[in-house]
Amino acid sequence: MAFERVLTRNVGNRDALTLEGYKKTGGYEALSKAFKMEPGAVIEEVKKSGLRGRGGAGFPAGMKWGFIPQKDPNQPKYLVCNADESEPGTFKDRLHMEHDPHQLIEGCAICCWAVHAETCYIYIRGEYTKSAVILERAIKDAYDARILGDNAMGSGFKLNMYVHRGAGAYICGEETGMLESLEGKRGQPRVKPPFPAVVGAFGAPTVINNVETLCNVPHILNRGADWFKSIGTDERNTGPKLYAISGHVERPGTYEHPIGITFREMLEAAGGMWRQGNLKAFIPGGASAPILKASEIDIKMDFDTVAKAGSMLGSAAVIVMDETVCMVRSVARLAKFFNHESCGQCTPCREGTNWMELVLKRLEHGEGREGDAMLLKSVAGNVGGNSLCALGDAAVGPVKSLVERFPEEIDAHVRERRCPFPEYRYFKDGA
């Protein structure tokens, strides 16, 4: 059976930007259905679907919703939708927001009903002005149509939704950094526990979910958990998935595939290698994911298979590199990113990301020393597992994979005292 695009069905359908247009595609039927269900039954359906978080960690969404305490009906609760999308290589959530804002609003609204959250904040990275404007317009239309507001869809449920803009800090994508930032503070991650489900935004129980995670929810209610489970590799890896593919491919972009499609198939769907180059390496899940080699081309791109290969599916942002790419230069660039974005709270992360950038930079410029590979390994060992949030581990991933999978490239830089790879010059005569 041919795979039917569900999440991206409205991409290119400009009509779907309007409330009427969205409704024509079956929009807000799932929310209407949800309001007729017990909130607990909504959570059960999402649990049954096997939907795992699409933001990076792959945590089961239904289980997360189930953690929200419901004893005190008067206690405020929040949903914060993570639209920070700052993981290098990732651009899938932007597609959702720019092309189908109501799908996200509907997903958020269903989640709010399921956990009794009367307020939803969509925390969007500051650079996404266009997405923010489109979302705000769509939210206003939903208020005007009384889908949101004091008596959402006549259900008696009060539901407010606001867009909150970040201001340029990758760490605010980490869920507790995001909560700090939402509260008007520096976006420095919190010590866990307590987890956000217990003490989240403004001290209240809070669900945090990624944009794509929430966009799946209306379809699960409309078509049922069994339909969702019928897509994917196995029970633990279910549903449609967006893959953002970039770098040296002929047609970079966001593609919807069943989760667990192989990297080879995904590459073919994107038109193959750019200018018929040869594949050297690829990053399967954003800058935080350890780099895989060309020989792993047949890997199934689902959470568990990629983890088993020593990397992670992360945000499913796939960066493709051909044979002209210098792995030392690539990892040095990522190390610069992590050093810049470390919030500086934990000494191992602050100092370690600085060190890794320094050593990689000198290697890149032919000033590396014998033993730098070992040094990188030992610095990485000190950062990994010794930090408050997952940024520390993320920073280590690419560096470790360089040392373990591409040691010959480090050696060549040290031996030749220069980078053996060409500069990236693609535009002839400055054109």
């Binding site: 266009k130 939402l182 403004f202 230069r329």
Partner: protein, 167 residues
């Protein structure tokens, strides 16, 4: 150019519209502190794209927050600026997907055409540029942001055209 140019604008004070917007924002959050980021955006817009000290102080007073706290927040985020910027602010993504599709040549073109270094303002106050982390548009690499707009699939010639269009 040896010196940063004189600031193009100062903070003119909150306009009645800005105050009304801040008051509307207060209704969205259970604390006044949560209005801080949006209020800083408003103050920055009123000041011509950066936050002079008096803008930061005015935001602190408006929300009844200690100035030290507001400074702490301003310095944390890359989109708040404590130095004057050009009338047009350019951010070039140089992260991995853009790097391997030619972002260095985009940076070179800006340096040549504008005749100033990163984070400096052209003598006529028109432009400033910086390299930036991934802007979430890797499928259109190399790319840059000009003010709020994404300019995509760049080539050096395209960059020159875009610069000519900036007043």
């Amino acid at each position: 150019m040896t010196e940063a140019p004189a600031p193009q604008t100062r903070f003119p004070g909150f306009t009645p519209e800005a105050r009304a917007q801040i008051d509307m924002l207060r209704t969205r959050y259970p604390t006044a502190e949560a209005v801080l980021l949006p209020a800083l955006y408003i103050a920055q817009r009123l000041s011509g794209g950066w936050l002079p000290d008096e803008a930061i102080q005015a935001v602190a007073a408006e929300l009844d927050l200690p100035e030290s706290k507001v400074y702490g927040v301003v310095t944390f985020y890359d989109l708040f600026h404590q130095k004057p910027v050009g009338r047009h602010r350019i951010r070039v993504c140089t992260n991995l997907s853009c790097q391997i599709r030619g972002s260095a040549e985009i940076m070179d073109t800006l340096r040549q055409e504008l005749g100033v270094g990163e984070e400096e303002v052209t003598p006529d106050g028109r432009c400033s540029y910086v390299h930036f982390e991934c802007l979430g548009s890797c499928d259109t690499a190399p790319m840059m942001m000009v003010d709020d707009d994404y300019r995509e699939n760049l080539t050096p010639n395209k960059v020159r055209d875009i610069l000519r269009g900036l007043k």
